[in-house]
């Protein structure tokens, strides 16, 4: 079990820069997700942690120690591949025992640990069978068990759930969380699925085009995204993000949206937008569940009127798509009383709305 410090790491492949100046600190025993769209550099980051790739610049420290001189096989890192990389020519037992065998662990010890691990992963009944005969779900368990059995200092998982069918994925998600607690190991987990990340990780590192966008606890990231990318990427359904130009008219600051609509700004969000005088273009963000219909609940909340375009059922609730001029807002119809075509007023809560600089994507004001 180790802590990991990623210090200003850059990785270039020829002309292409996969990771830029990335710094992340991972505490001992933490479960960290590397989250980002495909091609963002998260897998490269993980490969660098594992030692499969060397950083072009910067360092990766394990408990303050640089392992770059160490061969991969001496690093003691658990790694679960996306397609599990099960040794299909060996039996399940030999798959589990491989990491111990090569370290010359005594036979009885191996036997004991393999049995225990198989028990834990509930694949004991298949121990003697060829690994190639396993189902995908069992392979997943085997892959995790095979890495866990050698008690690695950290545990890396590359999109471990992406090949599973939906039902098993949900089960496995819960299982992973339990396992992480049981092993108590530092785990790093690469995914492009924010829900997985949000539900599993202690901390999430959001990466876009090789850059770290935000690093923090899931809720912090959800509530307090530090830039427009994160705000947009995290949360389901997505946050409403409308872009426009800031204009002061008769003492009222308005965000003039493309297509004619406008949002009069007031309260906290107005303060946010004005804290940097150089900003002219802004992006206004509000999560669908924060939008409400009916009476204004707070003095600074902003009232708008829109036409219900579409109603979409998502679980027990309905999502309403509200058309304001050319701009579309998405909100939860929590009272279940809207009808398509209705012209309805709705409110944007000022203190829960977020302001971003449209040019840099930076969050304005905020906490």
């Amino acid at each position: 079990m180790s802590s990991i410090q990623i210090r200003n790491v850059t990785k270039r492949f020829g002309e292409f820069t996969a990771v830029r100046d990335l710094s992340i600190d991972i505490e001992e025993g933490e479960f960290v997700a590397l989250l980002g769209p495909s091609g963002c550099g998260k897998t490269t980051t993980m490969n660098m942690i594992a030692g499969l790739e060397d950083p072009t610049e910067g360092q990766i420290l394990f408990d303050g120690q640089d392992l770059s001189g160490l061969r991969i096989q001496d690093r003691n890192i658990g790694f679960v591949f996306q397609n599990y990389a099960i040794f299909t020519h060996l039996s399940v037992y030999r798959n589990l025992s491989y990491g111990l065998e090569v370290k010359k662990v005594p036979k009885p010890e191996i036997e004991r640990r393999v049995q225990a691990m198989a028990e834990r992963m509930s694949i004991s009944h298949r121990l003697d069978q060829p690994a190639s005969s396993l189902s995908v779900n069992e392979m997943q368990k085997l892959a995790i068990g095979r890495s866990a059995i050698v008690e690695p200092r950290i545990f890396l998982l590359d999109e471990p759930l992406s090949n599973l069918d939906a039902g098993f994925r949900a089960y496995m998600r819960a299982e992973l969380k339990v396992l992480q607690h049981e092993f108590g190991q530092t785990m790093i987990y690469v995914t492009h699925d924010q829900i997985e990340a949000m539900s599993l990780a202690d901390k999430i590192a959001i990466i876009d085009r090789g850059r770290l966008m935000q690093y923090g606890a899931p809720l912090d990231i959800y509530n307090d995204p530090q830039n427009r990318f994160v705000a947009n990427f995290v949360g389901s359904p997505r946050m409403n993000l409308v872009d426009g130009e800031l204009r002061e008219e008769r003492g009222t600051l308005k965000l003039m949206l493309h297509g004619g609509a406008e949002i009069p700004l007031s309260g906290k969000v107005r303060v946010d937008f004005t804290c940097d005088g150089s900003v002219h273009g802004g992006s206004f963000g509000v999560r669908p569940q924060d939008i409400y219909f009916g009476e204004k609940r707070g003095g600074d909340d902003i009232t708008m009127t829109g036409k219900v375009e579409v109603l979409e059922r998502v679980g027990p609730k309905r999502l309403a798509y509200l058309q304001v001029q050319d701009t579309l807002f998405v909100a939860f119809d929590d009272l279940d009383r809207l009808r398509v075509g209705d012209e309805v007023p709705f409110c944007l809560p000022s203190d829960k709305s977020l302001a971003f600089d449209i040019d840099t994507g930076r969050r304005l004001g905020g906490a």
Partner: protein, 285 residues
């Protein structure tokens, strides 16, 4: 995880050593082809590059005589060169055409499931174990020392390669494409001719080059089934001796260079597919 510089250096050392071993005989032959008589042996000292480079050896084998040489040749390289080309090409055509057709029928129509192995067995036996009957047969049909007689045996002995190579290529053609064509009313022949063949065209070319190399490389069959008109290059090369000089190393080397070029060039062209051909497609790529 770059390998350590030491390991890398060792790796290059090994590879360079292997390349040197590979190139050593080749280089000696190639330079020998350009050496005049006094440099043919190392008696006068070992020289890699010809001290006095000359085209004499090539001139001699192409013209039958050369400036400054008493000996002359009754037959120049021209005949054997043409013989090698004609018989290799015709043998290749025979093997590729029959192999292609048969492998298609096996792959698509499931006919003659034992054929693949029977064909393979053909390659198992030493040709010399069946040479006497073959010679008698060839004599009976008047095929000894004819272009078609040699082409026929070439076609037969390289048939296994053509058959298996084409089999692997056909197996890779998605059957859905052919199905689609079938559904739109094409006959089997049309599907084969218009759809499948164009798809496997690169494979066909590979196969043809590969079989050509094999035919071109033959020595034994030509040694036994030709006499004068259709003697091929390797046979001709081995017979180059003279009354006074004994072995004509320089000329032989020149011939060797000429005989070696086509297969090496073609071989490098189809490098990627060589492994399939040599393992009769048993190794999927």
């Amino acid at each position: 995880m770059k390998p350590s510089p030491g390991a890398l250096a060792l790796k290059y050392l090994f590879i360079l050593l292997a390349c040197a071993v590979v190139l050593y005989p080749l280089l000696w032959m190639v330079t020998m082809a350009f050496k005049p008589y006094p440099e043919w042996t190392t008696v006068a000292g070992l020289t890699w590059l010809p001290q006095d480079p000359t085209w004499q050896n090539f001139e001699f084998i192409f013209r039958g005589h050369a400036e400054g040489l008493v000996v002359s040749l009754d037959r120049t390289i021209t005949g054997p060169l043409i013989a090698s080309l004609v018989t290799s090409i015709c043998g290749t055509a025979l093997a590729v055409v029959s192999g292609t057709l048969a492998s298609y029928a096996v792959v698509r129509f499931g006919l003659a499931q034992s054929l693949p192995l029977s064909v393979l067995q053909l390659r198992l036996f030493p040709p010399l174990a069946v040479m006497i009957p073959v010679m008698v047969m060839w004599a009976f049909i008047g095929a000894v020392d004819t272009w078609w007689g040699l082409s026929l045996i070439y076609g037969i002995v390289t048939l296994p390669f053509a058959f298996w190579l084409m089999k692997t290529f056909f197996e890779e053609v998605p059957v859905e494409i052919e199905d689609a064509a079938r559904v739109s009313g094409c006959s089997y022949w049309r599907v084969f001719y218009r759809i499948t063949l164009p798809i496997v065209k690169p494979g066909l070319a590979t196969c043809a080059l590969f079989v050509f190399i094999l035919n071109w490389s033959d020595y034994l069959l030509a040694l036994m089934l030709t006499q004068k008109e259709w003697v091929t290059l390797p046979v001709y090369m081995a017979t180059l001796t003279s009354a006074m000089g004994g072995q004509m190393y320089g000329m032989k080397a020149a011939l060797g260079v000429i005989a070696a070029i086509p297969p090496v060039v073609f071989g490098l062209m189809i490098q990627k597919h060589l492994v399939r051909g040599l393992t009769f497609g048993a190794l999927k790529q």
